[in-house]
C-alpha cells in the first residue's frame, strides 16, 4: 500500500512532464540530425589543396 494517495492531478502532471520530456528529447535528436546534415554539406568540406601562399 502506498503512503501517498495517487490523485488524478498527479497523473495529469506526469502526463505534462512526460510530454515535455519527449518534445525536448525530440528537439535534441533533430538538432543533432540537422548538425550532421549541415556539416556533411559541401560548404563545410575542407579543401585538400590550399592554393596561394601561406600567411
Amino acid at each position: 500500500m502506498s503512503f501517498r494517495q495517487e490523485h488524478e492531478l498527479h497523473k495529469r502532471r506526469f502526463g505534462r512532464n512526460l510530454g515535455l520530456g519527449v518534445i525536448l528529447a525530440g528537439l535534441v535528436a533533430l538538432v543533432f540530425g540537422l548538425t550532421v546534415v549541415k556539416v556533411s554539406n559541401d560548404d563545410f568540406s575542407v579543401e585538400t589543396q590550399v592554393s596561394g601562399g601561406q600567411n
Partner: protein, 313 residues
C-alpha cells in the same frame, strides 16, 4: 502546496494537461499549414535534404501553432461567447491567458530562429511576418473592426506554401505567389459559407462578419463573386510552372463544382435556407475543404512525377 490540499474539491482548475497546451496551438489549423507548406517545399525546383525539409515543416507548424496560441490569448473574450469556441483551453478555464501569451511568444521566437538556422532567413522572415500578420493585423486590428476581416486576414493562412517554397529556394517567386493567391482567394467564400450557417455565433460575439454588417443577401453575392475570381485564378495556375495536366483536370472539375455551389447559394434566400437547415451552404463549405486539399495535392503530384518524366508541362 501540500498533497492534503490537492484532495479538495477545487483541484480540476488551473492544472492543465499536456493536451490542453497542445490544443492552444490549434492542431486542426496546423494540419492545413503543414500540408500546404509541404506542397510549397516539394513543388520548389530545388532538392532539399529530408532532415532539413522535415525540420522546416516542423518549425513552420510550430510558428503557425504559436500564432494560434496568441490568437486564443487575445480573443479569449470572444471565444467564451461563441458556441464553436467556448471549449477552447482559455475560456474553459484550463489554461490562463498569461500562460497562452507566454507559450505563444516563446514558440514564435523559437520557430523563427530555428527555421533560419535550418534553412534561410527569407523563410524565417516570412514566418515572422505571418505570425505578426495573424496576431496583430488580423486578430488585434481587422477582426473586430471591418467586415473585410476574412478577406485581408486570409493572407495569414496563405503564407505557408510560400514559406515552404522559400525554405527550399531562399527566394519568393511567381509560383509561390500563385500558391499564396490560391489560398487567399479561397478563404473568403470558405468562411462566408460557414458564417451563413453559424449565424448566431458571430452575431452574439459582435464580430463584424459580412453576414452581420451587410446582411445575408450581400454575403451570398460576395461568395459568388469571389468564387468566380477564385476559379479564374485556380484554372489559370494550371498553365504555369507549378501546374500541369493533372492539376488542370482537377482544377477544372472542382472549380465547376464550386461555381455550381456558389450559384446555388446566391439563388437561395433565408426562407429556403432555413427550410432545409442550410443544407446547400453546409455542402459548399465541405466541398471547399476538399477543394483546397485536392488543388495542393495535385500540385504535389505534379512535382512528385516530374523526376520520372511525367508531371508539369
Amino acid at each position: 502546496m501540500t498533497d492534503a490540499s490537492l484532495n479538495t474539491a477545487s483541484t480540476q482548475t488551473g492544472e492543465a494537461g499536456f493536451g490542453d497546451y497542445f490544443a492552444l496551438l490549434k492542431p486542426r489549423v496546423m494540419t492545413l499549414v503543414v500540408f500546404t507548406a509541404l506542397v510549397g517545399l516539394l513543388a520548389a525546383p530545388v532538392s532539399v535534404h529530408p532532415v532539413v525539409g522535415f525540420a522546416a515543416i516542423l518549425f513552420i507548424a510550430v510558428g503557425g501553432g504559436a500564432s494560434g496560441a496568441l490568437n486564443m490569448w487575445w480573443d479569449a473574450d470572444i471565444d467564451a461567447v461563441m458556441k464553436r469556441t467556448a471549449r477552447r483551453p482559455i475560456p474553459s478555464g484550463k489554461v490562463t491567458g498569461d500562460e497562452a501569451f507566454g507559450i505563444g511568444m516563446t514558440l514564435s521566437a523559437f520557430s523563427v530562429v530555428f527555421l533560419a538556422l535550418a534553412t534561410n532567413w527569407v523563410a524565417a522572415g516570412l514566418l515572422a511576418f505571418t505570425i505578426f500578420f495573424y496576431v496583430v493585423i488580423y486578430s488585434m486590428w481587422l477582426k473586430r473592426w471591418t467586415p473585410q476581416n476574412i478577406v485581408i486576414g486570409g493572407a495569414a493562412g496563405a503564407f505557408p506554401p510560400m514559406i515552404g517554397w522559400a525554405a527550399a529556394t531562399g527566394t519568393v517567386s511567381i509560383e509561390s505567389v500563385l500558391m499564396f493567391a490560391l489560398i487567399f482567394m479561397w478563404t473568403p467564400p470558405h468562411f462566408w459559407a460557414l458564417a451563413l450557417f453559424m449565424r448566431s455565433d458571430y452575431d452574439e460575439a459582435g464580430v463584424p462578419m459580412l453576414t452581420v454588417t451587410h446582411g445575408r443577401r450581400s454575403t451570398r453575392v460576395h461568395i459568388l463573386v469571389y468564387t468566380i475570381l477564385l476559379a479564374a485564378l485556380a484554372i489559370g495556375t494550371g498553365f504555369t510552372a507549378v501546374g500541369g495536366p493533372i492539376y488542370l483536370a482537377v482544377a477544372v472539375v472542382l472549380n465547376v463544382m464550386f461555381l455550381i455551389g456558389a450559384v446555388r447559394i446566391w439563388r437561395r434566400d433565408e426562407v429556403m435556407a432555413e427550410a432545409d437547415n442550410y443544407a446547400t451552404e453546409k455542402k459548399v463549405f465541405r466541398l471547399s475543404l476538399y477543394y483546397l486539399f485536392a488543388h495542393f495535392g495535385a500540385i504535389a503530384l505534379e512535382a512528385g512525377l516530374a523526376p520520372f518524366g511525367f508531371g508539369g508541362w
